[in-house]
Symmetry: C2
DNA sequence: TGTATAACCGAATGATCGTTAGGTTGTCAA
DNA sequence: TTGACAACCTAACGATCATTCGGTTATACA
């Protein structure tokens, strides 16, 4: 399957480092076959990114509304790391290159929405919210990549660590 | 100056996307001149990374011990973003590629040390501390990149946002 | 049977890239 | 004056890469 092989190669080497030849080799076909299915390397990459964005959003949607007793933030985090667990290569590919940030924006907006509903954040300024979203977004990406290199850690522990590190119960909890 | 041009090109295009030809062109010399000063593209990149690591650590060292009335964490963050402000291209280059993580380890260790001294973290497990460090490390990188695209925001506001988002006063402040 | 179509291939094309060969110029100490 | 040297150049080499050309095979439908 070309798409599976392409996802792995993009995840391992990044967009620039991935070669059509290697993708074809891993798919068990010759390079021209890739071009029978995709117009260019860039289109192949974009299509894969779009598909993963849809799958990630579906992971979230499947857990909304959230189970009784969990906060919206915790539900979002658990769904996020469940996705990382289910699609390790796709996850790495999705967050490795920043060339298609427009595709990631749907997830970023969802994150900002949930963050804005956290207690103590309702009346914060726009810039404050945007900055908090960015810290959280990139921090979660980093934590997920760390997790992929430490497979012994359970998802519950990772979610708990994310909650702890990002415990923004009050905007002025800091000294 | 070759090193300055190389820093900019690496920052803008990443290691794989940067070409010796473009670095030479921006330096006002021909490509072979680059090889009179550096053995290879990879050595040039590594040398630049090492230099920036030293400068960043120096930025931190210059602010330790920290001024009266500020926490160690806040002092670290302010020095960090002061560095971002002073060396925008170098900063982007330094954090863009993850191929030389060993060079970044010195800063990561410093971050973990300061984090471990925060109230409520003294008796946490090793994995918890490592995860919190990773969230913070990558979150700060992301916030700094966001800041570079929003130059109107003051450094104080960015530091405050970082403190707020990462207000880990107590390991179980989260719900 | 004929033909359209889909999936695949080997081989090439043109561009880019890291790198090297070989040479010129200018500086400066012996 | 000589010779070492540093800094620089043009030109090329060899590899890699995205992409295309032109063809073969197999399926399926008229």
């Amino acid at each position: 399957m070309i798409e599976q092989a392409a996802t792995e190669v993009f995840a391992e080497r990044g967009y620039q480092g991935a070669s059509i030849d290697e993708i074809a080799r891993r798919s068990g076909v010759s390079p021209p076959v890739v071009y029978d299915h995709f117009a260019s390397k860039e289109e192949l990459h974009r299509r894969l990114l779009e598909r993963q964005r849809d799958e990630l959003v579906a992971f979230w949607a499947a857990r909304m509304p959230i189970p009784e007793g969990t906060s919206a933030l915790e539900g979002l985090l658990d769904a996020y790391f469940a996705y990382v667990e289910a699609h390790p290569y796709a996850y790495r590919m999705y967050f490795r290159d920043t060339t298609h940030r427009d595709i990631q924006q749907q997830g970023t907006r969802l994150l900002a929405t949930i963050l804005a509903q956290q207690p103590g954040w309702e009346d914060s300024g726009e810039a404050e919210l945007e900055m908090a979203t960015e810290v959280m977004r990139t921090g979660l990406i980093g934590l997920a990549l760390w997790w992929q290199e430490h497979p012994g850690v359970t998802r519950a522990a990772v979610v708990a660590a994310a909650m702890r590190a990002l415990s923004m119960a009050s905007p002025r909890a800091a000294s």
